[in-house]
Symmetry: C2
Subunit: 147 residues, 2 copies
Amino acid sequence: MQISSRFSVAVHVLSLLALQQEDDVLLTSERMAGSVNTNPVVIRRLLGQLKKAGLVEVRPASGGTFLTRQPAAISLLDVYRAVEVVGEGQLFSVHDKPLQACLVGRNIQSALDATLQRAQNALEQVLAGVTLQQVTTEIMSQENLKN
Amino acid sequence: MQISSRFSVAVHVLSLLALQQEDDVLLTSERMAGSVNTNPVVIRRLLGQLKKAGLVEVRPASGGTFLTRQPAAISLLDVYRAVEVVGEGQLFSVHDKPLQACLVGRNIQSALDATLQRAQNALEQVLAGVTLQQVTTEIMSQENLKN
DNA sequence: CTTGCTGTAACTATTGTGGTTACAGCTATA
DNA sequence: TATAGCTGTAACCACAATAGTTACAGCAAG
């Protein structure tokens, strides 16, 4: 199955935060929801996870959300982990309880484990190598291509 | 979300086929289901996909399944693709229809695309580098560790 | 004190997964 | 040629995750 769009939505939201101007209008969950094209509650749930991961600070009642770090100090892996699309080391699900009386059954899990772990790490290392800063830069450069 | 266990089950089944002895009893879907600890229909559905991908040959009514290639010529990426856990280039799902009137909204998809593609490729290349032969070798060596 | 926003619970529809029963169709073999 | 046994597949179920929605309590700032 596919990795939840929570991840891409989170990057979208963080990009909005990274690009927000000080003197700009307040970025409320409703505004962000408009840009993402979803429901404000979906955004608020997401912000809850990003907050829990220490990536953003949300002003409780008055509204407004801000990054706690520079965009260059936030990797996509941080985001990926924050939204918990996949638990640590669990990208692949492996069938449990294979027949222990069978040669293959009792060894398949450990035989596969190292490879699956490496595959997952390979994916995560790519995400670790890209920062929010790079994403917003890419957004601006995509924008320029259109002119 | 996690990648379906169809993948690990497929590797399990293919390992059984790779290790089967000529003069051994017939490997029916029921036998394989026993080793995997699931239902025979689940196995037959899976074999249908592996057959479609040209990895195995199934004898229709009399029973019995066989690899069409040497285990060394089957990579885990072949298996991964065969069971269609993830469509080509679609490991990450990205929210569609973001607000086009917004700078971030109209550029986020193309800004993320290359990175997500690279991440997925990284994962797949690890799988491409491991063959069924290596898996069965690992199974035997895990077995030996237990003695 | 009121306005407006966040935080969260609760419910829904949709989708993918994996298990199960049932049965048609075929093939090797007796 | 009859039959036993296996495959192929449809149909259904339970379960879990996702994403959208309504509703509302709580609170902070003006």
